[in-house]
Symmetry: C2
Subunit: 356 residues, 2 copies
């Protein structure tokens, strides 16, 4: 399961500290702390058939000769999208696409979706129809069947989608899964597409840019590279993660779970011309910490990744590192400090809870 | 997928009409109308492997020789539970139990759960720990493994759980599923346990009754009869639904999808002594329209249901009925009118959108 830390939560005005009340709040331990507590509370009784549980992009378990995948993600109004600024049709697309991204990050094929819609009763029906339309567009694009739907009343809009899928198995029946804990020293880090466009698009959306602006499109209509992910899994890429919270924070999860560090060369990062033109000073920071790119990071031996060119760009490598951090370095190998390395949207300052 | 119409939404104060704004709101067409629109918007491209899509307790599809089941349900603060009154540990239990109920209603075995927690940042950590504890208790009770977790920030608490499971297949590979559309004229209607206790318990909870009051327990800790459901599916019971929105409304879904009517004998309804003692005048109405019982209704030939005694009580039968309604009748066969037959929590008056 991906831990959905909205990387640009600060942009939505949710970074002020909660009122002091003399107790330990979830904002103090952050969402990663909460996920760990959940894993502990329910950890007993883990069945033998479970291959990957809490803490990866998706859960995986064996079912006879097949390997099932399941993931879920929620978009909450005012936390994950801008009320009144995000077109409903794009919201529908994105609610499904972020889940497709999780299945892709495991190397799997998304097949079925369950959709839970929380709505205030005064929501206009044409808006809901537009949301369904966007959902249907994404479902057709990625070959996903919406098999179930639920509607509940709530004070604000929230869309929760669960996607079920399958991973391939090799000739000996071993699952071809890309896991966060499978990076090794010397493995190369590669990424699909370009980074930072989505975060830049959110900024432009807030500034009133139209929905057809290319950067705004990148924000509203993420297109997870499912075909590349499937090829990567078939080629034997052992480790991947999707870029949802910002490259450095997401790579930080790989570092934490693989017990290693990551070195990313700033000069190697793929940045679009639109991003460089729109935010020349901040392009690098947006690419490293902006989040919501829904591109994929692959971590594998160099020769394996060569076969994925030109769809991927090699940006760094895994190293020994007791701190298990992802570091951005310049041409001379010096660490580049950025203002923020991803956001943890439950913490009062929006800073991550220590994994990056 | 069960359509989660909180049968006692009115009790939470959510029945006032929305402000008039000169357009069609979701409160005008109701949640069942919305689910139908979703089914239409995404209906194209239904894969051959899909056995049951939108509109039943859970989705079902073929995977090689197996039949997968998936369902999801959400509990929203102030809509599905009382803020400050519902103990967190019970909330955790119930969030999973209502999904186990959906899988049971299909005759399947629940196996894996994904948990999405939407929390305000100032939620106290011990409260979340208690929620996880209740979730873990329910998971152990029903043999479900929590395989994924997600935490998002939101203005109010909401817990969405998706449960994945499997249905049995018979010797010829046909799935042993209990479907809403499989009732036939002359089939007998039977129900597990007793009805109305949960709705009575909610009332007592609001009146300040302690969490260990038997009726309050029934409300806070529903115990879906999974073992009985599994036996029913093995015996070949073709049709079932869980009692979430109130017996008559839920039977109404069976009527609608099977193209029939249902006749329920008031005198045959199983009512607990606690319910009769606490609300002698309203026991019948609570049993028929209260909801959240999470018992199961089985619809099958009488001889099939006989084998499930004493775990089920026979309460009526399916009949021809152009109106496709579930009717409550007295000893002389006259229809008994009740104040409300289930609630549709998106409609301003809380009344169902026409299926009962």
């Amino acid at each position: 399961m991906r831990i959905y830390a909205e990387s640009i939560a600060a942009a939505y005005g949710h970074t002020g500290p909660p009122p002091y009340n003399g107790r330990v709040d979830v904002s103090d331990i952050g969402e990663f702390g909460l996920i760990e507590r959940l894993a502990k509370a329910v950890g007993a009784g883990r069945p033998e058939s479970l291959i990957v549980g809490i803490g990866d992009d998706a859960a995986a378990w064996r079912l006879n000769d097949a390997v099932m995948l399941a993931t879920t993600d929620t978009l909450v109004e005012g936390v994950h999208f801008l009320p009144g600024r995000t077109p409903w049709v794009d919201l529908g697309w994105k609610a499904l696409a972020v889940n497709v991204s999780d299945i892709a990050a495991m190397g799997g094929l998304p097949q079925y979706a369950l959709v839970t819609l929380a709505l205030p009763p005064q929501t206009a029906v044409p808006d809901v129809d537009a949301l369904y339309e966007g959902l249907g567009q994404c479902a057709r694009e990625y070959g996903v069947a919406v098999a179930g739907g639920d509607v509940v009343r709530a004070p604000q809009i929230a869309i929760t989608v669960a996607v079920l899928g399958q991973a391939e198995v090799d000739g000996e029946g071993s699952p071809l899964l890309m896991r966060r804990d499978a990076a090794r020293v010397g493995y190369v880090i590669a990424v699909t597409g370009t980074l930072g466009d989505s975060a830049a698009g959110l900024r432009r959306l807030k500034d009133g840019a139209p929905a057809d602006d290319p950067l705004v499109r990148a924000h509203l209509r993420p297109r997870p590279p499912l075909a590349a992910a499937r090829r990567a899994a078939e080629l034997g890429v052992p480790c991947a993660i999707d870029v949802s919270d910002g490259l450095l924070q997401d790579l930080g999860h790989v570092c934490e779970m693989s017990g290693l560090g990551a070195v990313v060369r700033a000069a190697a990062l793929p940045l679009s011309g639109e991003l460089r033109d729109a935010y020349p000073e901040e392009a690098l920071a947006l690419a490293c910490t902006g989040g919501e790119d829904y591109e994929l990071v692959f971590v594998a031996p160099r020769e394996t990744l060569e076969a994925l060119r030109p769809e991927v760009t090699m940006i760094g490598e895994m190293v020994e590192d007791g701190e298990r951090r992802a570091r951005l370095v310049d041409a001379s190998g010096e660490e580049v400090r950025l203002p923020a390395a991803g956001w943890d949207h439950l913490r009062p300052d929006g800073r991550p809870s220590g994994r990056t």
